[in-house]
Point group: C2
Chain length 406, copies 2
């Protein structure tokens, strides 16, 4: 059974019953799911025999009937205590939340799993998304398991290497001539015409709920303690807002309480509209027209939740910072080398920003710090290869080996 009470507009406060609705009809503001917290009775021991997936927190997820759940085993990914990396950066309690080992190898399995389950609850005949990467794979895999048709709109410039994973799950890929915006517009028209549920648009309030499970898991894996700092990659900003909401909800149901959790947003310099607004103290996020960074999966020039990221970060006394492509590659290698975790550029921005915040003294030696590593390095091999590795072959002799070792 569901504890969802309503959907509530983040801007004007209008409430709606939990129907299929994308935005507030009055002011086009985003809608948040509101739960009936008084009726939710869970304690730390409630979780002892629950599945080790996002569904262990079912009271705080917006699915009414568990038979609608499309379960790929998403979530409860490892929270790795990174002793080596922490030493290298100069702190003692550094953790990585490793979503590179989710079923389709990124954090996007979380929102996709909730959204596709909700599409089934709504009786939708097909799901769709506009994406060139992690989201497309996550939605396609879940649609496959649910035996629902899936349409993935992409700009036609998409790399063929990404296509293979998405298409393997059985999705129909629609490469649209033009920009990402062109693909987006066509998807919207198609959803109106064919009734497809575009998971990150049509039922966005539910979609966004999936990502907050990261907050739940982080606290539970810290034995229900709260971290001092959480560093989160920022693209549209929906992930940071969801994690913030997750931490607040844990307090509301009485599972955690304590010190402030500082939320930090990490962007790439080549596409850092929110970091820029944060730095100059602005209340407005100016779009970046031509993003240019190897961290493509966070290169959103006009972030939908930009203002809310500023609000949540300022409220929590965190920062939004931008790191260079060189720092991103160095952080990929540092994380891999010290902890054996191989992430995509969008995941390593959090390590690069942690390094800077430690150097600046904003993170102290004994603080508990969690970096969210949101995706898998195998998806972005080219981004790293370009920057990094040159080899010369040697003859198969000990002499040649010895001189190559120097």
């Amino acid at each position: 059974m569901s504890f969802v009470k309503s959907l509530k507009c983040r801007e004007c406060g209008t409430e709606y019953p939990p129907i299929k609705i994308a935005l507030c009809k009055k002011c086009f503001g985003p809608l948040d799911v509101v739960y009936d917290y008084d009726k939710i009775h869970i304690s730390k021991t409630s979780f002892d025999n629950r599945p080790r997936t996002i569904w262990r927190y079912s009271e705080l997820l917006p699915i009414s009937d568990k038979k609608n759940i499309v379960d790929l085993n998403t979530g409860f990914t490892p929270l790795i205590k990174c002793v080596n990396l922490g030493k290298s950066l100069g702190i003692r309690n550094l953790y990585v939340k490793n979503d590179s080992v989710n079923p389709t190898f990124s954090f996007k399995d979380r929102p996709a799993e909730v959204a596709v389950s909700k599409a089934i609850e709504f009786g939708d005949s097909a799901v769709a998304c506009v994406s060139t990467g992690n989201l497309a794979a996550a939605v396609a895999a879940h649609a496959g398991k649910a035996n629902l048709p899936c349409y993935v709109f992409t700009p036609s410039s998409i790399e063929s290497s990404k296509i293979a994973q998405i298409a393997s799950y059985g999705a129909k890929i629609i490469p649209v001539r033009g920009t990402y915006d062109d693909a987006n517009r066509l998807a919207y028209l198609a959803s109106e015409l064919y009734g497809w549920n575009i998971v990150n648009i049509t039922s966005r309030p539910y979609y966004c709920e999936g990502s907050k499970t990261l907050a739940f898991e982080i606290c539970e894996q810290l034995d229900w303690n709260r971290p001092d700092h959480v560093i989160i990659p920022v693209a549209s900003g929906a992930l940071l807002c969801a994690i913030s909401r997750g931490f607040q909800q844990l307090e509301k149901v009485g599972l955690t309480k304590g010190e402030k959790i500082r939320l930090h947003g990490a962007q790439a310099e080549g596409c850092a509209p929110i970091a820029k607004a944060f730095t100059i103290g602005a209340d407005k996020v100016l779009p970046v027209e031509h993003p240019k960074t190897i961290a493509k999966s966070i290169a959103i020039g006009d972030p939908g939740d930009g203002l809310y990221v500023l609000r949540e970060v300022r409220r929590s006394e965190g920062v939004v910072g931008a790191v260079s492509d060189l720092e991103i590659v160095e952080s990929i290698k540092l994380l891999a080398k010290t902890e054996g975790i191989f992430t995509e550029p969008a995941g390593s921005v959090t390590i690069a920003l942690a390094k800077r915040l430690i150097e600046e003294g904003r993170i102290r030696r004994d603080d508990i710090v969690v970096c969210c590593v949101t995706g898998n390095g195998l998806k972005t091999i080219d981004a790293v290869s370009e920057y990094t590795f040159a080899f010369s072959e040697i003859e198969p002799t000990l002499e040649a080996l010895s001189s190559s070792l120097g």
Copy 2:
């Protein structure tokens, strides 16, 4: 503390203390680790509060001091009940053991984690391996975490895409002009000269122990029941032999008992020396000189454990079968589409063989069947892309969309 009693030659039975030794000094036969089963007292409840990694079975792993363990969070990967795939193939109890979500995204983390830990126990100053893929990544990541130098010998024809992951972990990659055998020979000479531990050669008896944890996990995840069939990709054959040993050890310590477990070995037609020997009833495995299959990570033409695979499979009343590259690609897509699991060709051979064994009536409708999916599809995107996906872009209009949907 360790329950290791000795190393015992699989051929002549000579026993050795658990030292650093690759092969039997008398007959060059492989050495198996022997445990003192009488002293091991574990029951099903022993595991309640243990780590969800291979180290939950530490009594049956050959590490003496747990401070030597290099722990990347390897193992206890999901055993997924595949209802959709089972329906499609016509059986009711089909499971996939999904090792694509191990830390470096293949089952090789299991033997690498044990071998690198053992190298530390031996006081070795560096580790190495000869590999072009999964093993190299696993050893490199573990060496990184252990802060040990790591040398990866490869034929110089290795694809640059594979290099990026391995090099990110900080390994020194040595591309050797010539064949895989040339690289292998140079690695052996280097280990003699420099004292490097080539994990899959120098301390092979320990290395092989890691993979048997698959058998332990499968039984535990089936609530300590035994499957009727386990289908395993076969390259050198070490994996199948290790899994067989794992099942036997669980019986020896009293954790399981019951019906025979049929072990089936899956090869690719383009490199199927053991399947061929099995089919013609031979007791000799004739090497394949020029392997040719998209399942490169199991394309070993002269499999070291070929005879032992024949023995274990015949003993268990299983089969060794070979599947075509087309069946491999179709199985990758079928598994992805029905269950959202994206594997490399070497993993999907097990699905293709399951399909055939069901069609032949060797696997029956109610049998409990486990397919070992040993690696991640993101590592072999090209293998699938070539075969599969052609798209034509469309204009961003509903008319164009409608005609493309047909």
